[in-house]
Structure formats: C-alpha cells, structure tokens
C-alpha cells in the first residue's frame, strides 16, 4: 500500500513536472511514451479424474486493462530521463477497485563531455552467450503468429529485448576511432545490483562487468568480456561471500569472396565460482570454447554454419545460465486440480503465455529445468558439461517466398552423471516459412509456417539402472491469412510429446550434485489456437482467439486435463 502511494506520488510529480516543462518549452523537451493493453480471458478446465472432479473450480474469468505511461524528458540534448508508470485495473474492478500503480522503469542516460555515454537506472544488458545472455532455450521454435502474439506480451512484460537481461544499475561506454590500422576500440563497463542486503544474513549482491571491443575493420572484430556476480563483504556480519566470474574472448573474421561471405568466429573463456570462507563449498573452475564457420550467400543471405563447442562441467556463469522460466513456480491459475488437488506443473500452455512463471533476475543457483522442453541445452549454449558439433543451414529466397532453417546439435557430456558413462545428446530442428502472398503477388498476407524439433538423450550401458533414453518431439504449424485489409485469420497448433527416462540431478546450494531423481515421462501436450486479428498498425491490434490445450500423461491417466480458453486482446505497444 505504502509502495503504491509512493508510486502514485512519483507519478503525479512527474506529470506535473512534465506539464510545466511542456508549457515552458519551445522545442520539444517532454515527450510521452507508452503502451496500453486490455486482456480478457475466459478459461475452462476439464479434468479426467478417476471420479468426477467436484473439488476444482473449473471455470474462471480474468483480465486487466493497463496503461504504461512513460514520460521522456530531455532537459538538454545530452541528457534524457525516462520514468514509466503502470496503471493496472483488474477486470471486474469498478470505481477504482482493483487498481495498482507501479513504476515500470526509470532511467537516465546521456553523454558526459562528448566522451562517455552512460545510463543509470533500469538497463537492458547483453554480452556474449557465455557471459551475459538471456537465452530462450525453452522456446526452440519460432511461434506462429497466433502464439507469438501471446509470447510477445510475456517478452514485453519481462523486458526480454533481444536476449538481454533487465538489470538495475549503471553502464558507461566510450570509444576511440582511428585513422589507420584500427577502425575503433570501444570500452564498456556496467555494475548492477542483484539484491540488496537484509542487514542480517543476506549480503549485498552485485553483478558487474565490461568489455573491450576492437573493430579492426569490417573483416575483423575482437573483444574481451568479463562478468562477475559477487557478494559485497561487510554488508552482513558473515564474511562468507559468493563470487562467480567469467572471462571470455571473442574473435570474428569476415571476408567476402565474390557473392560469398565467410565468417569465422570463436569464443573461449573460463569461469570460477566459489565462496570465500565456506570450507564445504567447492571452488568450481572450468572453461569453454565455441567456434563456428559460416558461409553466407550475400544476395539471399542464406548461409550454412558449422561449429564445435566444449563447455566444461564446472563452468558457471550466472549471467548466461539464469533461466527465463521458473519451473518451480505455480502457474497462477488452476494451480491444483483433481479431487486430490494435485499440483499442476508448468505446461506448454504456460510456457507459451503465462508471464507469472517467467523470471527477470540473475541467480547464482542453477535454476531447475524441465527435460521435456529442453534436455540437450537446458541453459542454452551456455549449458555446462556439453561438447560436440553443431550446424545450421538457413535458406532464403531473394524474393522472400520461403525461409528454411535447419539446425543440429550433436553433443555429449564431458563428465558422467553418477557413472563414468556419458550421455549423448542429439537435437535436430527444422523450420519452414512460406510467404504465399509473395509467391502469388498478392497484397494480402498468406503465410504458412511449420517447424519441428527432435531431441534425444541417451546413455547406453549394460546395467539397466544406468540406461537413459529420453526423446521429445516438438512440432508447430500456423497460418496467417489476411481476410480483408489489416484483418487476419490466424490459426496454429503446437505439439510437444516426450517419452523415456533420465535422471535429474539434485543439487545442493553450491550446485553440486548430491543425488539423482529418476525422471520418467510419457506425456503429450498440444495447443490449438485460432482467431481473428485486426491490425491498426503492426504493433497495435485487436484480437479474439479460442485456444484448446490438452495434457495427456501416459503413465498416470488421471493426470490428464484440458484447458479451453477464450482470449480477447487489445494491445497497443510501440
């Protein structure tokens, strides 16, 4: 309540300041940024229990309307201040009930003496995939339009912008350009706060780092990156502090040969994670290498890429291994079902559209993952204990009639899990987009998309208890057809089937494996969705959709359930 009032007062103050500035200005000094959304949902749960489920509330309605109003103040041409408030009104709240005020983002940025560019406050940061990177490893396939509308809302809510992590802190960068030999060198440093101390037993935890990037020419780029998650000694009585640092070097070579472009990239580095005074804590040190060679056809931008990766079993990088999805979270609706009110786990439907399960913070603990979604690279390419080859083939037509993408990862463990026998991993992914309207030279969109991901995890052994064989298949298909101008018919389906067994590592607070839990699955999940969308602009649309989700558990049939949803979305983001 207090926070709410504080947010409200800040909001009003900013509004007043901005109105004064607006009045005083001759050139534009205050501008408004924002978005708005109305989201209404009507859900129905169908439970296939042994007896008719008379315990769970099966239907629910919900939703909200919200405005994100950003006041963008430019007091001078070198400074920019941004404060964005959220006013959220829960669906069903009349006359001011169910209203929540919050500050969505607040930052200032500018240039010091024409030399150093800085930003303080909320910052979206990204480095390399092994240092600071927000992998999207549980969404291996691009979604058809009818689903991407929903995932886009999650991305917006959680500030997932181009694999960045939203942090709070400060960043500064500057650079030099040169006349000869080198094109430029840029330097960047940042420091963000992961959590503040509770003045008792939780120390202040910061995440900092930086990079030096050397661009020699369009042919060569090199960079050094460093990140470090660390506790600040002296902020609590306990002097046992955590630290996780990663150092990485990147080299990229680029050369055109006629219509072909060859690019060689390599990233390598190491990490260390330790507690300063905990004798039980391990001092984890390891390294990684990732190299790739890409051959690109310049006209169509089609390319083929092959590479090798080797990420050590003790490689720890909080900035790159924090996951978007908290698989231990409750979905937030239909949390329990059936007469015995069993917990409903995170499903394909939740992964697709439920922002409640998504995480925005960097964490030192390895977050749990669900092998059904991604068992090959559960922490993206920064997944530790993996080595092997990967490849990608990306084909495009110059007129953009089609786009075909195929990827393969053939990997294995570097260190066994509970045995010296190592698991092998295979991931094959294929996606096709057909822009039929371009083929037919029509102004009306007619796009068909499809994709499939096949994953397999195997450990062969003469001993039954060591054998692992887990397979999952993820397909999707979608259609976007423009019935009338700006008025689209959307449809799509996603299937996710998994079968087999694996052992899941139970880790202690130091991320050491202390036990294994057997994981057996025979599950089939599917989402079917269809509806209509009217596009005011590409990012402003009104849509109505019906969605049907099925969860089938081949091991325990009474876990089966369906969810039907009607969604109305009026989205206004810019």
């Amino acid at each position: 309540m207090k926070t709410n009032i504080k947010h409200f007062i800040i909001l009003i103050s900013l509004m007043c300041i901005s109105s004064l500035l607006t009045r005083a200005q001759i050139t534009k000094k205050v501008e408004f940024i924002g978005g708005s959304r109305t989201f209404i949902t009507n859900n129905q749960l169908v439970v296939k229990d042994s007896l008719p489920d008379t315990t769970t509330v099966k239907r629910n309605t919900g939703g909200y309307s919200l405005i994100d109003l950003g006041v963008n103040i430019t007091p001078n041409k070198k400074t920019e201040i941004m404060g964005m408030f959220r006013i959220r009104n829960a669906y069903g709240g009349f006359w001011g009930a169910g209203v929540d005020f919050s500050v969505r983002q607040l930052w200032v940025k500018g240039i010091i003496g024409n030399v150093v560019r800085y930003q303080v406050g909320d910052i979206n940061l990204k480095q390399t995939p092994y240092t600071l990177y927000n992998h999207n490893e549980d969404h291996l396939l691009s979604n058809p339009d009818v689903f991407s509308l929903q995932t886009d809302i999650v991305d917006y809510e959680k500030f997932y912008i181009k694999n960045t992590w939203r942090q709070q802190g400060a960043s500064a960068d500057f650079g030099f350009t040169f006349a000869k030999y080198l094109k430029e060198i840029t330097f960047n440093g940042f420091m963000t706060r992961v959590n503040m101390t509770n003045f008792f037993d939780v120390p202040e935890r910061l995440f900092g780092g930086g990079n030096v990037q050397l661009i020699q020419s369009k042919y060569l780029r090199m960079s050094y990156h460093n990140t470090r998650l660390f506790d600040v000694a002296g902020t609590v009585a306990d002097s046992n502090m955590y630290s996780n640092s990663v150092h990485s070097g990147v080299i990229a070579l680029n050369k055109d040969f006629s219509r072909w472009n060859v690019k060689a990239e390599a990233e390598a580095g190491n990490s260390r994670a330790y507690f300063t005074r905990d004798s039980l804590a391990p001092d984890l040190r390891d390294y990684f290498v990732n190299t790739a060679l890409t051959l690109k056809e310049n006209n169509t931008r089609s390319f083929i890429k092959v590479g090798y990766m080797n990420v050590g079993p003790d490689f720890r990088s909080a900035g790159a291994q924090s996951k978007r999805i908290n698989f231990n979270a409750l979905p937030g609706y239909y949390d329990r079902y059936g007469n015995d009110q069993r917990v409903r786990g995170i499903s394909l439907l939740d992964v697709m559209r439920n922002e409640n399960i998504y995480n925005t913070s960097i964490t030192s603990n390895l977050m749990d993952f669900n092998p059904v979604f991604n068992n090959v690279l559960p922490y993206g390419t920064a997944t530790f204990n993996r080595k092997g080859f990967f490849g990608q083939l990306n084909l495009k037509n110059q007129k953009e009639w089609f786009l075909v993408n195929f990827e393969n990862y053939t990997l294995s463990e570097i260190r066994g899990q509970g045995t010296i026998i190592r698991k092998s991993f295979l991931l094959n992914k294929g996606e096709v987009t057909l822009n039929l309207h371009k083929m037919l030279r029509s102004d009306k969109r007619f796009i068909l998309t499809g994709g499939a991901v096949m994953q397999n995890t195997q450990r062969k052994s003469e001993l039954d208890f060591e054998k692992v064989n887990l397979s999952s298949m993820n397909f999707n298909a979608g259609i976007t057809y423009e019935l009338f101008k700006q008025f689209d018919l959307l449809g799509g389906a996603i299937w996710l089937n998994a079968k087999g067994n694996d052992y899941r590592a139970d880790r202690n607070v130091y991320s050491e494996v202390v036990d294994f839990t057997e994981f057996n699955t025979d599950s089939k999940q599917s989402v079917y969705s269809g509806g209509l969308r009217f596009r005011f602009t590409e990012k402003i649309y009104l849509g109505g959709f019906y969605q049907h989700f099925q969860y089938k558990d081949g091991i325990n049939l009474f876990n089966n359930y369906n969810i039907n949803q009607v969604l109305i979305i009026y989205n206004m983001t810019f």
Partner: protein
C-alpha cells in the same frame, strides 16, 4: 590477407590457452548410480574381529562386511541373558573398524553383563539379515565418581525423606528391572497436598572425610549422569537435582550466601534413559524458573558439597512413580554406559 593470417594465429593462441586449462579430474558428478539403484549383494561376509570380548580390560571389537552398493545398515548386539542392546548404524559400502566398532557400551538398558550375545546385521531394503555369536568376558568399566548405584544398600550418611502419602514406595528395590547391577531406587506414591513425594541428600561426607566431591574446577569438563525410569500410565514426575556449593569451604552449604544450581528433569519417557548434564549447563531455579544464585555466581564443581534429589509430581494428578539408578560424575564427556 596478411591480417587474416595474423588473426588466425591469435585464434589458435586463444584456443591453446583455453585448452591448456585444467579441468577437475572427478570421474563423475554426484553419487554413484550403482549405490542408488544397483542390486545389493554381500561381497564379503559379516564377521567380527574378536568373538570373546574383555571390555573390562579396554578391549574393543569391530564388525566386517562389504556390500555391492552404498547401503544403510544396522548392527544390533543383544545380550542373551540381560536383554541389553547395542545398536550401531551407518551408511557405507564397507563395515570396518572406522564404521562399526563396539567398546561394550549399551544403547538400550539394562547394561550388558558377562554373557553370550548375538550380533545381527540388517540392511535397509534387504530382507535377509546376517548374524553371528559373541561372548562378553568382562563388562566395560565406566571411569568417574560414582555417587550411588544402590547395589550395597543405603549409605547411612544419605538423608532420605519421604511423605506419608498413599502407596508410598521410596526405597531401594532389587529385581531384574535394574539397568545396572541388581538394584535401583524406586520412587512412588500419592501425595495430594504437596508436589514433593520424597528426597535424598547425598552429602560429600558420605564418601570420605572431605566436605567436597572429588571433582575438577572446570565446570565444562564435569558431567553428572543418572539413569531414570519413566513408569507408563502414571502421573508425570519431575526429578529435581540440586547441586550445593560450599564456597567458603566451612563444611556447610549456606543457602542465603552460597550458590546452588539445579536441573529439573520431566520424566516424559517410558523405561530407562540416561540423562547427562554438563555442570556448566546447570542453572539456579526458583520454583522451576531461572533465578539469580545467591553466592559468587560462579560454577565451582570442586566446591560441590551436597547433591539433593527431589522427586516431584503435580499433587492434583494422583499417583506418580519413577526409578533411579547409577548416579555418576564423569570427566571430559557424558557417560557412555
């Protein structure tokens, strides 16, 4: 092109630098799956290092066995005559001197006596058990200062007071319930006007001419031990021990100017149980609540002059009963019976 060559060298150098890094040589992460999920078998039989045991002379024995996987195991040694039990547990692939050594101590009373015993090995999740015979030639000696084991009757310098309630039994009893030796002190009765059922004072002078018990001056090293027996189905008793110090060494305890420390033990269990209290952990109690000692407020075990045992019970709840045996001071740690 020249540049590219140079860069290639850089790349190689980088990769070499990285591949030069060392990794931990841990064979695999986590516990062995064999331990978690493999089948159990005895790779080496269950044996004991010595079957005839003279614990009285400081002898010990250890058990031996080897399993095919990490297992939770239990060795239970039972006295064939006394029924005393010693239970040793562990989680390992191997039983050896480090994991399964027996020095003659007891887990479940009574204490062992010179007798034939049977040791049984059980493994969690395994239905079969493995047993072997042993014999105790002499029982384990317990070093320390024995206050009372009631084997030779009442010391005439002890002061015993009992109320005149109904069904009073406040005396030494000799029968096979005794956890040590053949006798113990039985305390029972119904006193509906007072919490006190009976008391015994054990003055230091009962054990020689000194007015102090022969204890060290370090309260962190001195432990008071007693075996107490809770009688099922009776009013819960409180056994209160008072430790009275003669600080001015004039031969008497003066309650108004010298320290007294207490431990109050609610007998909430059934059967015999060892209760051990470090002298440093004693507190001064006033009607059960902590108070301020009247003397120098320092714990001086070397000046302990009298121990009082009070047998208490809620007067409104009827018949109360418990038993007591083997009051002993040990040095350096609690009694290992």
């Amino acid at each position: 092109m020249k540049n590219l060559q140079g860069i290639s060298i850089w790349i190689f150098m980088l990769l070499l630098a990285v591949s030069g890094c060392k990794r931990s040589d841990t064979p695999f992460d986590g516990p062995d799956l064999q331990d978690l999920n493999g089948t159990f078998s005895m790779l080496e039989p269950f044996e004991v290092s010595k079957s005839s045991l003279g614990f009285g002379s400081g002898e010990t024995a250890y058990f031996k066995a080897r399993f095919s996987k990490l297992s939770d195991w239990t060795v239970t040694i039972t006295g064939n005559t006394s029924g005393a039990k010693k239970i040793i547990t562990g989680k390992s692939r191997v039983l050896d001197a480090t994991t399964a050594t027996w020095n003659g101590s007891t887990t479940e009373f009574p204490m062992f006596e010179p007798e034939a015993c049977t040791a049984v090995l059980t493994v969690e999740g395994v239905t079969d058990s493995f047993s072997l015979p042993l014999s105790i030639e002499s029982v384990k000696a317990n070093p320390g200062f024995l206050v009372a084991d009631f084997e030779s009757g009442v010391n005439p310098k002890w002061v015993i007071f009992k109320q005149s309630g109904a069904n009073m039994n406040f005396k030494i009893v000799t029968d096979n319930v005794a956890p040590q030796g053949n006798s113990y002190f039985n305390m029972a009765g119904t006193v509906d006007w007072d919490w006190l059922i009976g008391l015994i004072d054990f003055p230091a002078t009962a054990y020689g001419t000194s007015t102090n018990f022969p204890l060290s001056s370090n309260p962190d090293n001195e432990y008071f031990n007693v075996l107490l027996y809770g009688v099922p189905g009776t009013n819960q008793t409180l056994v209160l021990f008072s430790f009275k110090e003669d600080e001015n060494q004039n031969g008497t305890f003066e309650a108004s100017t010298e320290d007294e420390y207490n431990v109050q033990i609610p007998v909430t269990w059934e059967g015999w149980k060892l209760v051990s209290v470090k002298y440093a952990d004693l507190t001064y109690l006033v009607n059960g609540a902590p108070g301020t000692p009247k003397g120098n407020k320092l714990k001086n075990p070397e000046k302990l002059t009298k121990i009082s045992m009070l047998h208490l019970a809620d007067k409104t709840l009827g018949f109360a009963s418990s038993k007591m045996d083997y009051l002993i001071f040990t040095n350096g740690g609690p009694l290992e019976p």
